[in-house]
């Protein structure tokens, strides 16, 4: 642990000189970030294709022979798990966390570059193990992404034999990878900040990533514990979670275990997971909004406090996912209360985003469009969360499409909107080229309007009582024929939105070669990552000397200063030299 690449001596860094050390076994945080990002986007596309297949079945039942009830459940499960863990967590923390932390805090690299490299390759192994389950006898698990026992490991559930074992193994490997990366992120933020970069001068992106990483380090062990114990139930016949049970007419050896115990463990991980995904998104969207509205973020301190408060509260709300699990009803009251309390810091954040826009000099660039889109989708998903947080409203809506609509709006679409905003915003830094604006705007409108075309009708389906995870409705009296037409329209919208993502993928590759040159700091942003001597930044990021920070990251449109932004590494004296003589100029 002695050798670290953060010291202010450029020769401390072993410059990679071969193709392999530069792009494959690289210890450079930027290369690792891109490796993480590309892998995550690849599995994300797999999960997107799976959702398309699910929608085909739901929109046009009895049409596609290759989708049977088993494969439908497998699509549902793999779609959910890949999106939540292998795409969102990996892309937000492994991808953007890796890329932005050292650059935004003025470090040369992560504190433990070797561990960082190991983290990516372990993550890749987890992805390979997961995808391998498509090719084993019985296929991947179809237990639903929550993997509830006893059904997850019993005959009758698709992939109960090999699929579930590979899923649990893959999750365990992912957690090892995340822990290696996570230790790096928190230590780097705490230990490798450049001179002048106090905690309260960090951009909100770093606050979000930092807090989310701490949440991840404390929450993922719960998933590991449940995965290990379920694996033993499956492989060694223990009865941690398995009650005495008769399966397909046969009495099994298990006895006395508690399936609800698994649910508690799973959601003790599962709810913080929502914020592991949301907090980095909150942070990044704050920075995108401030930069493109040319205005300081409204209530910076309150934003930091809200991030920390949400992080803390996220550990005491988990059982609101379990109102129908027959747990003690008194728990329901407690968890409903904590759930509604968490709406307060969240609402503060939403107000502050809107107030940042108020009277700002708004530039409707593509990243800004996605950031504003996020405010819509997140508010929408957040409000339905207030419904579901209440026990009496949750009971009839539980396991209906209302829940599907809610969590897709709040933790599916919203973080993805921020991810798009972030990619359009930071792509010029990563590649030195701008993404094509026209294609970006088309991509935005298809995605944003398509989101509403997909998820808004799902709320109505939920009110009708249409259950989630069903392969087909069968002859159900309470579901009218019109629900089926709605399902067909949702499917058409989903396929269009899915296909429109190809515009984005095309834009990424096309702009790499043909994009307009970005130059230094194309968005005229204040934060440190845009102040590197080279674009894209070279190995070591900062050339011979580390930058020195003199101010917070939000000095936009400062009164009395000619330029409408002052980068963090510009000192008061340098600003005064260019400022006019206006009394009260706040520099």
């Amino acid at each position: 642990m002695e050798h670290v690449a953060i010291a202010d001596q450029i020769d401390e860094l072993h410059d990679p000189d071969t193709f392999i050390t530069k792009y494959i076994w690289s210890q450079d945080h930027k290369v690792i970030a891109i490796q993480y990002g590309l892998t995550a986007i690849f599995v994300g596309l797999v999960a997107l294709a799976l959702s398309g297949l699910m929608r085909l079945q739901l929109g046009f039942p009895d049409t596609f022979d290759f989708i049977d009830p088993s494969s439908y459940l497998q699509f549902v499960t793999m779609h959910g798990m890949i999106m939540v863990i292998y795409l969102l967590t990996a892309l937000l923390l492994g991808g953007f966390g890796n890329y932005l932390i050292p650059l935004m805090i003025g470090a040369r690299d992560m504190v433990f570059p070797y561990l960082n490299m190991l983290s990516y390759w372990t993550y890749l192994l987890a992805v390979i193990v997961l995808l391998a389950s498509f090719f084993v006898p019985g296929g991947p698990t179809g237990a639903g992404w929550t993997l509830y026992p006893p059904q997850a490991i019993l005959a009758g559930t698709p992939g109960y034999d090999w699929g579930i074992i590979l899923m649990l193994a893959s999750l365990a490997i992912f957690i090892v990878a995340f822990t290696m990366g996570g230790l790096n992120y928190v230590t780097t933020v705490l230990q490798a900040r450049t001179r002048g970069m106090t905690l309260m001068r960090m951009p909100l992106t770093i606050w979000g990533i930092f807090t989310a990483t701490v949440l991840g380090l404390l929450a993922f062990p719960a998933l590991l514990v449940s995965a290990i114990m379920m694996m033993l139930d499956k492989l060694l016949g223990t009865s941690f979670f398995m009650p005495a049970i008769v399966s397909l007419g046969e009495t099994l050896d298990h006895s006395g275990g508690s399936p609800v115990l698994f649910q508690h463990l799973f959601w003790f991980f599962g709810h913080p997971e929502v914020y592991i995904v949301a907090l980095p998104a909150f942070g990044m969207v704050s920075d995108v909004l401030a930069t493109h509205a040319r205005k300081n973020i409204f209530g910076y301190r309150m934003m930091v406090w809200a991030i920390v408060a949400i992080g803390g509260l996220s550990f005491v709300v988990w059982a609101h996912h379990m109102y129908v699990s027959a747990m003690n009803p008194a728990f329901g009251f407690f968890f409903a209360t904590t759930t509604l309390i968490i709406a307060i810091p969240t609402a503060i954040k939403v107000y502050n985003w809107v107030l940042t826009l108020w009277r700002g000099n708004i530039h409707l660039t593509v990243p800004m469009l996605f950031a504003i889109g996020f405010i819509f989708t997140f508010t929408h998903g957040g409000l339905t969360g207030l419904f579901l947080g209440n026990v009496v409203i949750d009971l009839p809506l539980s396991d209906t499409y209302f829940v599907v609509a809610h969590f897709h709006m709040v933790m599916g679409v919203s973080p993805v909107m921020v991810l798009f905003a972030a990619i359009y915003h930071w792509y010029p830094l990563m590649t030195g080229k701008m993404l094509h604006t026209g294609l970006g705007k088309i991509h935005f409108w298809f995605t944003f309007l398509g989101t509403y075309a997909i998820y808004l009708p799902m709320h109505y389906l939920g009110f009708l009582g249409v259950p989630r995870r069903y392969f087909a409705m069968g002859s159900t009296d309470f579901i009218p024929e019109s629900a089926q037409s709605l399902n067909a329209s949702i499917t058409v919208s989903a396929l269009i939105v899915g296909a429109s993502q190809l515009i984005f993928i095309f834009n990424i590759f096309w702009s790499l070669r043909n994009g307009e040159k970005a130059g230094h700091n194309p968005w005229q942003a204040t934060s440190l990552e845009w102040q590197t001597p080279n674009v894209p930044p070279k190995h070591g990021n900062w050339g011979p000397t580390l930058p020195q920070v003199h101010r917070w990251a939000y000095d936009y449109s400062v009164p009395g200063v000619e330029a409408d932004f002052i980068p963090q590494n510009v000192s008061t004296d340098e600003v005064a030299a260019t400022a006019d003589e206006t009394p009260g100029a706040q520099i």
Binding site: M1, E2, V4, I6, A7, D8, A107, V111, F112, T179, L183, N184, V186, T187, L190, Q191, A192, R193, T194, R195, G196, M197, T198, L199, M200, R201, L217, L218, P221, A222, V225, I228, M229, L232, L236, G237, T238, S239, F240, S255, G256, G257, S258, L261, L265, N296, Y300, R301, V304, V308, L546, Q548, V549, H550, R551, W552, T572, D573, Q586, I587
Partner: protein
Amino acid sequence: MNPFKTLAEKPWLAQPAGMPQGMGPDANTAGTIALRFFIAVVSVLFFLFTITFLARSQYPDFQALAGQPWQPFSDPSRLWFNTALLGLSSLMIQLGLNASRKQHMNGTIVAVTAAAFFAVLFLLAQLDLWQHLQAMGFFVSGNPANSYFYLLTAVHGVHLIGGLVALSNVVFRVWYDGQLTALSGPLKLCTTYWHFLLLVWLLLFGLLTSTPDTINALAALCGF
């Protein structure tokens, strides 16, 4: 660093000249911070195992491994022997750290080797204990208490093996560099981890050899 004071700062106000406070990079404490977070992660892991143990213990089929004369840990002398091995390992690594700080090359090598030796011995003794239990008919799936015994000792053992890998990495690096001064920093981290694993083991020892009454009392305290 006072977190409340930090969170109360007003970064948007102009800072007085000559006051770009904050910290430069500091390599020596990075390892310590990372280790603290890692210890927190592992603590959460064992804490959650313990909580599920207590919850599961309240189901009627749970038969604790101590209490009645025929239960294996009513006489925990084998466990005490294993505990002594791990304790010796912890003691030795501490002596090695002290020796490395005083630049005693031979003392360091002997003590660290002894620490690794006793750690390996502890693992072998744990494996032997597993065989002993199996020979007595206490199989992993026989009873949830048995399952937890195998599970918790295995997870603890895996963490000790991880520690041995880290320790050997440190030792080999010193071997190649030939500088003892570079050893004491990483060795201090290993020592802290060793003591932590000893503490975890003592807690697990206490839990796994508790009588049903003690377990029920603990479970009641947790609300199960």
